[in-house]
Structure formats: structure tokens, C-alpha cells
């Protein structure tokens, strides 16, 4: 395999960001191809026919899809900053928390923002429990990965920026009850590889604010 890397992504997406962070941690050069999610390119659909989603990493014309799969692939192919630990037990533990973030934290925080009434109260209760559990995993360390960021930190990136913005747009205030997670978020944002590919806060506000009612109705992102 040669070294031509292209990333089909979208700057507003935290999933796209996950892949960029991984590539930058390894110090590898890539071309970022911006996808308009309201008008997906033929190339994106060609390279991800099953899910038709970003991010897609193209490594010498070979596509890899799904952000965690891509991040693990980058870790295995490129030397440099280790993203997953070497020890099998620690790898399993990192994957466990990555899954916890994607399967519990993410939908619970999302639905807390985009529902109301009793349903919202239920989601908020679930989100609070999950955030507390995740905060517990930090155990006073700088990052989930210890002294430097690893898989869990990358997968948790939404907590460092996106969720805060979303909460502000809808008028919710969940994250501030978790000072350790907020502290982690600031430390995460200050990592050089992260700073280089973190979108401006306004970009995310400009996505959510004008689409607030439609996203609320659909309970899912709306791109047009």
C-alpha cells in the first residue's frame, strides 16, 4: 500500500473529526474532501454503498468506513502515537468504553436535547447516569488514555465541543454538572492534533440553530 489518503468528511461532524484526529496523531498527510450531506457526491455513494455516510477514508483507492473501524485501522497501519493500548485486556477495556459512549451516552444526550415532557425527563435521567459513569472512568487522570489521548478520548470528542453547543441551542444544561468531564473537554481541545481539526464553535451553532424545529420534529439531523 502506498500513502495516498483521502478523507470524505464534513467539518461539522464529530465522526469526521475522530478520523482527522487519528490521522494527525500519526502525522500522516491526507486530503480532506468536503461532503455536502444534503447532496451526497457520487464518489461517496460509490465508496460507501451500504451506509452512504461520512466519514470514509480512502487509502490508495480502498475505502474504509465507520469512524471507530477507521480509527482502529489507522492505528494498525501507521506508526507513531499509539491510539489503542498493546495489551489485549486494556484494548478490550478501551473498546468497552468506546462502545458505551456510542451506544449509551450519545443517544441519551441527543434525545435529551430533542424531546420534551416526560420522555425528555426520562432521557435526561439516563444521560445523567451515563455521564456520571463515564466521569468515573476518568479517575482523576488527564485523559481517558492516561497522560495522552487514546481511543476513548477520540470517541468521546462530542463531549468536548458538540454536546455543549447543542445544549446551548436547545436550552439544556447537562454537561456542567460534570466538572471532571468539562475539565477533560478543555484538556482535549488543547491537544495539538485536536486543535488542528476542531471546527469553530460557530460552525456547529450555524448548523443546529436554523434547523432546530425540523431536528426536533425528526429527532434526527437534517442537512438541507
Amino acid at each position: 500500500m502506498g500513502e495516498t489518503l483521502k478523507l470524505f468528511g464534513w467539518k461539522v461532524s464529530p465522526y469526521s473529526h475522530r478520523v482527522e484526529v487519528a490521522l494527525r496523531l500519526k502525522g500522516v498527510k491526507y486530503e480532506f474532501i468536503h461532503e455536502d450531506l444534503a447532496n451526497k457526491s457520487d464518489m461517496l455513494i460509490r465508496y460507501n454503498p451500504i451506509l452512504k455516510k461520512i466519514p470514509v477514508l480512502l487509502h490508495d483507492d480502498t475505502p474504509i468506513v465507520e469512524s471507530q473501524v477507521i480509527v482502529e485501522y489507522i492505528d494498525e497501519v501507521f506508526d507513531g502515537h499509539p491510539i489503542l493500548p498493546k495489551d489485549p485486556y486494556e484494548r478490550a477495556e478501551a473498546r468497552f468504553w468506546a462502545r458505551f459512549i456510542d451506544e449509551k451516552v450519545r443517544p441519551q444526550v441527543w434525545m435529551s436535547c430533542w424531546t420534551d415532557g416526560e420522555i425528555q425527563k426520562s432521557f435526561i435521567a439516563q444521560a445523567k447516569e451515563s455521564l456520571a459513569t463515564l466521569q468515573g472512568r476518568l479517575e482523576g487522570k488527564k485523559f481517558f488514555g492516561g497522560d495522552s489521548i487514546g481511543l476513548i478520548d477520540i470517541m468521546a470528542c462530542s463531549l468536548a465541543l458538540w454536546y455543549g453547543v447543542m445544549e446551548e441551542v436547545v436550552g439544556l444544561n447537562l454537561l456542567n454538572d460534570y466538572p471532571e468531564l468539562c475539565r477533560w473537554g478543555e484538556d482535549y481541545r488543547n491537544v495539538e492534533a485536536v486543535r488542528e481539526c476542531l471546527p469553530e464553535r460557530e460552525l456547529i451553532v450555524d448548523f443546529f440553530a436554523p434547523r432546530k424545529d425540523r431536528i426536533f420534529a425528526k429527532k434526527a439531523p437534517v442537512y438541507d
Partner: protein
């Protein structure tokens, strides 16, 4: 807990997730203590201690250290015992493919299958349409290969095959035929069943159906 040597698997007889771990352990020829949890009664202290976050099976306890989540357990087993019956390919791109398809199976098949036997009317019809699409995608991915991994039984096969014991329940409850929409998948199941690890692990589809009927009565879904 930390000083206890050996391997224990906390499981529930009909769980396809537990069966993934059992198949992986059998393929590797690893000896372990199988501990059946009664999920219909109170969860054991060991389970609650080993998986405090989710309180779910399967949990693999290796020398006192717990590993949770079935696909994570299978990858762990593959990494700890890499020399026999490797489940993930050695090439990083092939590994990424295997992880993608195992994740696809994980997210789509069981959840949609559950809707097939839990729901009725229009919702069930929608789930049926979705399941047929999912099966056709998997059928196309399998193609004419012996296994999803190619010539060797691998990660995606381990992820998917235990879920196939639930096909009979889905077919009966929702009135459709897996064989009619995905004949290659059905043949693939038969090939997998020729492996001792699979044959000795998978639940009898009729027993799964009895369990599904029990659950429907218990939760008053009829």
C-alpha cells in the same frame, strides 16, 4: 476476584451473544468454566460485580479480570490466543472489513429480528421489509464464499451464526421465509453447523421459539 486463575464465562443458555464467546473459545480449544446465569430471576453477585455498568451477560472473566460485550470478548479471545484458529484476518484492511460487517450484523439483525416477533400489524410489516433488505445485503456480501471471512471461519461468521437460531421464530411470527430471500445464507448456516464449535453451541431453533413464546406471554405481547 483478582487472584483467581482460569477462565469463566457468565452466560444465559439462549443468548446469541454468549454463544459468540462460546464458539470463539471452542475454536481456540480453550478450557473454561461455564456459569449459567438465570436472567429470569435475580442476577448473581458475580455478574453484578463483573459488569457493574450494564449488568449483562456474556462476561468473560480471565484470571479474575472481566471482559464485557460479546464482540469485544471475541476480539479479546482472538488476541490472547492468536496461534490457533485466527478469527480476525492478519491484513489491516481485511480486519477493518471484518469489523465493519460484524458491527453491521450487531446493529441490524438482532434489533430488527426483535421487532419482528414483538410487534404486529403495520409495524411488523415494516420490520419484515427491513429484515429482508438486511438479509439481502448480507447475502450479497457472502456471495459464493464458503464463509464471510473467505475460506476460513472468522469474526463475521462468529458474530452472525448464533443469531440464525432466531430465524425460525422470526419466520413463524412474521410469516416469511429466510430461504426465499437469502438462500446462500441458509447454506452458509448449514456449513457452519458442520463445525463442532457451532453445532455444540447453537440453540435448537424450536427451543428458541418456545422461549420467544414464553417471553411474549410474560410481557403480554400477543
Amino acid at each position: 476476584m483478582a487472584s483467581e486463575k482460569g477462565i469463566k464465562l457468565l452466560d444465559f443458555w439462549v443468548s446469541p451473544f454468549g454463544q459468540r464467546a462460546r464458539i470463539a473459545l471452542a475454536e481456540k480449544g480453550v478450557e473454561y468454566e461455564h456459569k449459567e446465569e438465570n436472567l429470569l430471576a435475580e442476577k448473581s453477585e458475580l455478574l453484578l460485580k463483573s459488569n457493574p455498568v450494564h449488568k449483562k451477560i456474556p462476561v468473560l472473566i480471565h484470571d479474575g479480570k472481566p471482559v464485557c460485550e460479546s464482540l469485544i470478548i471475541v476480539q479479546y479471545i482472538d488476541e490472547v490466543w492468536p496461534d490457533k484458529a485466527p478469527l480476525l484476518p492478519s491484513d489491516p484492511y481485511q480486519r477493518a472489513q471484518a469489523r465493519f460487517w460484524a458491527d453491521f450484523v450487531d446493529k441490524k439483525v438482532f434489533e430488527c429480528g426483535g421487532r419482528l416477533w414483538k410487534l404486529k400489524g403495520e409495524e411488523q410489516e415494516a420490520a419484515k421489509k427491513e429484515m429482508i433488505e438486511i438479509l439481502q445485503i448480507l447475502e450479497a456480501q457472502l456471495g459464493d464464499k464458503k464463509y464471510f471471512g473467505g475460506d476460513t471461519f472468522g469474526f463475521v461468521d462468529v458474530a452472525f451464526v448464533p443469531l440464525t437460531s432466531w430465524f425460525y421464530s422470526c419466520e413463524t411470527c412474521a410469516n416469511f421465509s429466510v430461504e426465499a430471500v437469502a438462500p446462500k445464507i441458509v447454506l452458509w448456516v448449514q456449513r457452519c453447523m458442520e463445525r463442532e464449535s457451532v453445532a455444540k453451541t447453537l440453540s435448537d431453533p424450536k427451543k428458541v421459539y418456545e422461549y420467544v413464546r414464553f417471553l411474549k406471554k410474560r410481557f403480554r405481547i400477543e
